[in-house]
Structures are given as structure tokens and as C-alpha cells.
Subunit: 511 residues, 2 copies
């Protein structure tokens, strides 16, 4: 409160979406104000104010006692120049933390509460600790469906919203958890070839061995400017781009950055995250894929149904035409796991290669068929046949090539990693199960997604008979150390369960 | 996973109990591993491993691309020298985060769960976000009483425990929230003069205008070495020291550091925090003061009773003799609010000054009497009279002077801050209520506890009749800017409620 000013200094430290301020321990203001490490402080310059968490510095080479240092994001947000005078003060809590505390106490929040929370988060007024508190307080079953709706709406309102100027903008989204599930790269060219607008943006892998953006990057550039993305979509009716540059529903990205290291997630937050992003991207029609299986994200049909109804409730209230499809998530889709191997599978399906993985083809046609039926001119039940015709005729491949060229085609090389380990059947029998989580772990430890050629190639899938010594799958790595780690992991648990022929599971009876 | 090593560099940034690692954006390991800001990484050197949260740096003056920087605490924990080779890896989550996630999902945790959590926190394996997640997950009513017991035991086990070698080591603790409530500074000399061991350590103010340590500091040194503290206690049977240096129940301090900026607290966490600290300090007999009132921390008698039973349950299980006293928390205790003014009140009571605040004297005698009755040689019901005799005879003052001299007496100056604002009654009537929270706010805005002489001096208390223009209280500040802020706050809400004489509240009927 002594109104002493300090000189502003930019500290080139990236603290992600948390504003951090650095004060020297000998700084007069620090000593007078009784700040402590982690104290939240308010910084004023030229009439602008920001909040930041305090770190105390003992090295004048970083900040001197007469300076206030700000991390990159905080410096950008204060929008003042270096050496200008700043004053520092105890911060009030972000006002909306009252609502978070009410939520912790078990109260129901209103739309206005969620709006004030997302506005404060968007303005970087929350510390990481405060975001973690919000996530835990609203996690698990702590949001009722109205609150999920409010959160979705509030997240949507904090960012910009694209408008494609068309009545039907299609999109699809899988809630994730199934390795090799690269249906988007087949659905987009099929649907776009039908003439529907499907401007698909995808994420990179967060905890999985490959995201759609990582896999598409094997074939073409995915990091597109907004202008280029628009041009491609206008010309080809679809794209397969990375969504990271679009700044749609930015609060969602900020929350995910905290959620990920905490390893927590909840259905309410997932629905709000997915729908706010899709609405911000201007989608009018959306197909949601919920895979169910013992090692999938959703493990029981009743949980899948509850999640479907939550998606439907929020989607209907927000005027997006939304359909949910519950799919077989009992094993990985396709053969490859990892960017290069998954891209190979996709191209084999597009090229109608007889060796293409039939499950990836089948699932993609089902999803594409459902999206094509969003078209009012398509008769109910005809979508699948239309999708199959587009794929079989080579029109999907043609569309994919056009999109790749539009985005900037890469030289394609499907050679997998140079170290290869073959995992063989120890006895004769039938593949009774493949663990999604373990196969994803093996592929990640082998180097995917950072090492594009690393991953796992599945030669046998559930229900197939094997003889002793048959290769079940191959593990590929680019580095010896990763290869050794992956091999150890395989030796602990191969992820495969073999059974005698009598115990074969019926692949189509999972529902 | 590429096993490249980096050179260790110490970064003189104090990130409190969170380990932070700094990597340059151009660092080959950062690029190869796909780390992101906030990623948790594992750092190995000479066979030792620590976990840290990553910050990305763009300034080679802080770290170069071939270095790994560590914040002060992380550097100390790794215990390796600068320039030594370190390797960096993706970290597994701290194993006990599984238990936190189970708690978030509503499960009940075991003693072993709480032990693994507190061990991981003590070893700095938790990020601030993870600690926030733990606090919210165990906040509010999310811990049953067995879990509060487990948490208390687990926090106790992570630090050292003092042993005074006596059968009866007394202590008192107030849950807080009432300005001016400096009873410890009267209870300690009275109880010590009776001959009981009462080695009292106190905190500084966190969110209040004065803690016992801040107030005692007006009279004597409070920052004592463990050896000096022991010598004083052995010689005088008591002390009034700051507890910050003792490192008792260190996990409690680390959790409080996150809890405070979040502004959350829960009864279960409070009980675990208080009892783990007191047990670690070697107390065998403990009196807990729970003030109840509309602006106190506990607002209803039924909540106070529930809290009492929780304290009793955990205390009994942990073999501490624990009694709870529920007191009148409807207004501040004494006259002064702020370190200097509160120290003046305390000395007036000890000196039997006829102007001494009667409520502070009365409450301190009640608490001291209850503690004296812990003495098996004292007949039930006689404690109050013994305490009063010790106070009235001047023996308490003598004991206080001895303790002050032992700790290092300061030159006493009770002159309040140089700026003074008098708040006067706008009409005749009776003081019907004084808002604890608003009076604390006014004192803090005026500069307390950092400006020792700042604060509020109450001239009228609840139940007293006032004429128009009578001074209700004075606000003191050391700086003009603080003074102006405090005056504005008073003008918004004086904190006093006046009523016509008929509506006088019965001071003793609050239960």
C-alpha cells in the first residue's frame, strides 16, 4: 500500500496460462507488503491491471530489487513497455472464486456464475491452483446437466465463433481412448466428396500414441493459417487441420492444460469441452462416437447411454444437430498404432487395397454414412451405401489427394522405425482380447507420437486363430533406448489374451 | 527417452514448496521429448531423482539450451552440484495421486493412502495444482471422522515430534476469526506461574490484522532458535514464540500455503492441521477455543458442537487430553485491533490497570482456569479462582516480564499510528453489534499487521449506550494512502450497528 513504483522487466519464461511475477527478496515493496511466495498480487501500469502469482528471486541478474519481472504471458497481458513504472499491491481474489468456493460446498451454480468464472480464467486472473480447484469442484458427478449446459455456454462465449455461412456444417468427434481409431481421415474425404461442408480440426496426441493431427502430418501440412484453412474448405468442402491455432473456446485449452497433468477428467467437463469447441468452430451437425469396452474410456453400456443423453441434452439446448453413435471399443481399430503406421492404414483403405484393415474401413463407412444422412436430400438408411460408393469408386481417394495438396502434401514414407521387435504367440489358440491401454502404452514408450515411425503394428486381431510362434504384433522404435524400454514393457504384459478356440468372443455381440 | 544429459544450473527463484525446472525452448531434450509447459518431469543426477514442473525459457541468460535450471528448493532437494550431468525424463505421476483421484470420485481413503499422500507432498512430488486437487477433494464434508484421524496421523508422521520429558505439557489454541482475541499472551504467564509447562508457539497473521507472534513481537523477540526456546521453557515453564522455524508437521505448512491463496478451508482439514501441529510440538493437554457468532468462523451452536465432537474424537484416538470451550464470538475481544494496540490491552490486564478491557481479562481467566484444572492436584471448579489470584497478585505480570527478558525484551512503545480517524455515533442509542470481519478489514487496510502501530481502537462495545457524536472507535494508520483507503472503507460500512435502548442484546445469553 506504500505506492512505491518498480521498473517493469520482461522475463523470458513461459509459464503457460499462469501469470507469474518475480520480485527480488531485497525489494522494498516485497518487504513492506508482507507478500509471501505464492501470494497473488495485482500489478498496475498505465491504468491497466493484471493479477499474478509471486515468485521470489535472489539473483539480481534475473530481477534487481528495484524491478518487477513478469513472465511472458503476464508481460503481454499488461501490455506496457519495459522500464515503465509499475505499482504492486495485494490482489483481491478473482471475484468468481466465491462461486468456486460455493461449488466446493456443494451448491449448484448459475449461468452467471459460470460466465464470471470463464471470464476470469480467460483474463488469466486464476492461478493454476485456482483452476485445479475449479476442475476438482466441478469434476466427477458434481455438475448436473443444467450446469454442464451453463459451462458449455460460458466457455463458448469467451472466445470467437466461426460462421461458415452455410446451413449445414458437419463434424465428427470421438471421445478417444482407442488406439488406431483414425476414422476422421476417412470420414472427411468421403463426406466432402458427397458435397457436404466438413471443416475438421483435430488435436495432437495428449496422452495417446497419435492424434489425428499427428497422423495427418505424415501426409500433409496441418499447421494452417486461418485464411489458408478457409480457402481449402471453400474449395474442397473439407480439411484435416490442427486446431491449435484457431483460439476457439480458449478457456477449454487452459483448463485442459491443468486437467492433463492432474490426470483427472469427468463426463460433464468432457461434454462441455467438446461441444464448446465444436460450436465455436461453427458446426451445425455433429456425430459423436462413444467406444465402449473393458479397456476403453467408457466401460459399460449404461455409462455410454448416460453420456449419450448428456450430449443430447446440451446439444439440443445449444441448437446443434447432434447424434451419438456407440461403437465397439473392445480392441484397437485398424492395424497400426503410431502416426506413420496409422497413416499407412488410412491410405490402404482409401486405395481399396485388399490388405487394408477391414474394421477401420467398416467403422469409417458407418460414421460417414450417418453424417451423410444429415443431408435432407438423403433418404434415411441410404447413407452407408452412398459412403461405400464414394470410397469404392476412388472418389474419396481423389478428395483426400486434393485436400493434401491444398494443405501442402508431404513426401510420403511409410517405412516404420528401424528397430523392430516381434511378439509371438506362446501357444496355439484364439486371440480373446487386446488391451487398448497396454497397446497405447507400448506404442508411447516406443516413441510415438514424437517419433513418427515408432509404434505398434497388429498382425492379429480379436477372434483370429493363431499357431504357436505366429507373430501377434511388431513393435517399432527409432532409438535403441526406447526400444529396450518397450521390450521390457511387452515382457511384463503383452496386452494380448489368448484362449482355446472354444472361448472365442463373438465380435458383433458386444452390445 | 534419448538419454541426453544436460548441465545442472541453480536458478535463484523461490517457488516455495513447488519444484520448478527451467529448460530453454531450443534445448534438444525439450524438443525431442514433447514436453509442454506444466509437464511434470523427472530429473536424475548421481542416482538421485526428483520431480518438477516445467517452465520453458527463451533467454539463454537464465538457462542455455544445454542446461537444466532448477528453482532453489528443487536444487536443494536434488542435492547435486552445479555443472554436474543431469538426465531428464517424463515423470510418472506421484503414485499417491491415484488415491487423490479415488477421493475425487467419492471413495473413502485408508490410513495407508493418507500416509502415501503426505509422504509424496513432503518429498515435493506434488505440484501446486496437485495439492489444490487434494485440498478440494478432501475439503468441506468430504472426509469422515476416521479419515480426519488418518490425515492427522499421516501429517504428524512426516515431521519430527518434540518430547519435553514431562507428563503434562499444556497448550491452547483458538480456531481464529475474532479480532483482538489475544488470550494466549495472558494464559501463558498465568499457567506458567502456576508451574505447568506451556511452551506456546504461535503463527503470524495470515488473513487477520494480528497474530499472537506479531503482537508478542511488540514486547519481545519471537524468532528463537530451538535451543533458546528450550532454555526459556525449562527456566520459566512457558514461552510465547513464533512457530515458523520448528519444522513440525511440515506438510501442514505446505498445504496451508496452497489453502490460503485459494481461500478455502474445511473443518476436517482444520482439525487435522491443528492437532498434527500440537502433537508434533509435544503437547499432552490441549484446550481448544471455538468462538461462535454471526460474523465468527463458526456461526451456529450446532456447527460448534459438531466441530467439538470431531476434535474430541481425533484427540482421544491420538492420546492427547483435549477439551473444547465454546466462547462468545459475537464481537471483537478487548479494545485494540492490530499488534501495538493489542499488546497494550494485554499489558493493561497484566498490570491490573482499572482501564483494562474487562472482556479480555474475563475470557483469559476462564481459559487459564480450565488449563490449570488439567493439573491433577487442582480440584474441579477451582481453576478460575487460582488463575484470578495469580493475575491479581501480580505473579502473572512477573512471569510475563521474565519470559520477555528471556526471549529478549523490546523497548515498549504503545503510541499508535500517526494518522487517526474517529468514527462517531450518528444518533443516540445502544451498540447492538460489531462486525468481526469488517473491523478486521478496516484494521488490515489501515496497515496491520505489517505496520505494527496501525489498527483500530474500540471505545464502545456491544451493549453500551452512546450519545450522538460519541466516538465509537478510532482508526490508526502510519501512511496517508492506507489512512485514506481505511476511511473510505469505514464510510461504506462502519461495522457498528446501533439500536434504540429497548433492543439491547443480552451479552450473556448468546448460548
Amino acid at each position: 500500500m506504500n505506492n512505491q513504483t518498480l521498473k517493469l522487466r520482461r522475463i523470458a519464461i513461459d509459464t503457460y496460462h499462469e501469470n507469474v511475477a518475480y520480485l527480488h527478496r531485497e525489494c522494498a515493496v516485497y518487504r513492506a507488503e508482507g507478500f509471501q511466495a505464492l501470494t497473488k498480487i495485482r500489478i498496475c501500469a498505465n491504468g491497466r491491471r493484471i493479477l499474478a502469482v509471486l515468485n521470489v528471486v535472489d539473483d539480481a541478474a534475473i530481477v534487481t530489487p528495484s524491478e518487477l519481472g513478469l513472465s511472458e504471458q503476464a508481460y503481454a497481458q499488461l501490455n506496457a513497455s519495459e522500464d515503465c513504472a509499475v505499482s504492486v499491491d495485494h490482489a483481491e481474489y478473482a471475484l468468481s472464486m466465491d462461486a468456486v468456493r460455493r461449488k466446493i460446498n456443494g451448491e449448484r451454480l448459475t449461468l452467471a456464475d459460470f460466465e464470471s468464472i470463464t471470464q476470469d480464467i480467460a483474463a488469466s486472473r486464476y492461478s493454476k491452483m485456482e483452476m485445479a480447484a475449479f476442475l476438482v469442484a466441478t469434476g466427477q458427478n458434481n455438475l448436473d446437466r443444467d450446469e454442464v449446459l451453463y459451462l458449455t455456454r460460458a466457455m463458448l462465449e469467451t472466445g470467437q465463433q466461426l460462421n461458415w455461412g452455410e446451413a449445414l456444417v458437419a463434424d465428427k468427434h470421438c471421445i478417444g481412448g482407442i488406439p488406431g481409431n483414425r476414422t476422421s481421415m476417412l470420414v472427411v474425404p468421403i463426406v466432402a466428396a458427397h458435397g457436404m461442408l466438413i471443416p475438421k480440426t483435430s488435436s495432437r496426441a495428449i496422452t495417446s500414441p497419435a492424434g489425428t493431427a499427428d497422423t495427418m502430418e505424415i501426409l500433409a501440412e496441418v499447421n494452417l493459417t486461418p485464411k489458408k484453412l478457409h480457402d481449402i474448405v471453400r474449395r474442397h468442402r473439407g480439411c484435416l487441420a490442427w486446431g491449435g491455432t484457431a483460439k476457439l473456446a480458449p478457456v477449454d485449452d487452459m483448463l485442459i492444460a491443468v486437467e492433463r497433468p492432474l490426470g483427472i477428467d469427468s463426463q460433464g467437463q468432457m461434454v462441455a469441452s467438446i461441444l464448446s469447441k465444436k460450436l465455436a468452430a461453427g458446426s451445425t451437425h455433429l456425430l459423436i462416437d462413444i467406444p465402449v469396452g473393458p479397456t476403453a474410456k467408457v466401460r459399460h453400456m449404461r455409462a455410454a447411454l448416460a453420456l449419450r443423453k448428456l450430449f443430447e441434452f446440451v446439444g439440443d439446448q445449444l441448437n446443434i444437430h447432434l447424434e451419438v453413435i456407440i461403437t465397439d471399443g473392445r480392441q484397437p481399430v485398424g492395424r497400426g498404432i503410431g502416426p506413420t503406421l496409422e497413416a499407412r492404414d488410412v491410405m490402404q483403405v482409401l486405395e481399396n487395397d485388399p490388405g487394408a484393415p477391414p474394421d477401420l474401413r467398416q467403422k469409417s463407412l458407418e460414421l460417414a454414412g450417418r453424417i451423410i444422412e444429415f443431408d435432407p436430400d438423403v433418404r434415411g438408411g441410404q447413407g452407408y451405401a452412398i459412403a461405400r460408393d464414394i470410397l469404392d469408386s476412388g472418389r474419396a481417394l481423389g478428395k483426400m489427394n486434393a485436400i493434401m495438396e491444398g494443405q501442402g502434401a508431404h513426401t510420403i514414407d511409410f517405412t516404420p522405425g528401424k528397430f523392430c521387435y516381434e511378439v509371438k504367440a506362446g501357444s496355439a489358440g484364439v486371440v480373446a482380447g487386446i488391451d487398448n491401454l497396454q497397446m497405447a502404452n507400448i506404442a508411447r514408450i516406443a516413441g510415438a507420437p514424437m517419433d513418427k515411425k515408432a509404434g505398434v503394428d497388429l498382425l492379429r486381431k480379436t477372434g483370429e486363430a493363431v499357431k504357436t510362434g505366429d507373430v501377434l504384433y511388431r513393435v517399432y522404435a527409432e532409438f535403441m533406448s526406447d526400444f529396450e524400454f518397450a521390450r521390457k514393457l511387452v515382457e511384463q504384459d503383452s496386452g494380448y489374451t489368448l484362449s482355446k478356440a472354444a472361448a472365442v468372443q463373438q465380435h458383433d455381440a458386444f452390445l
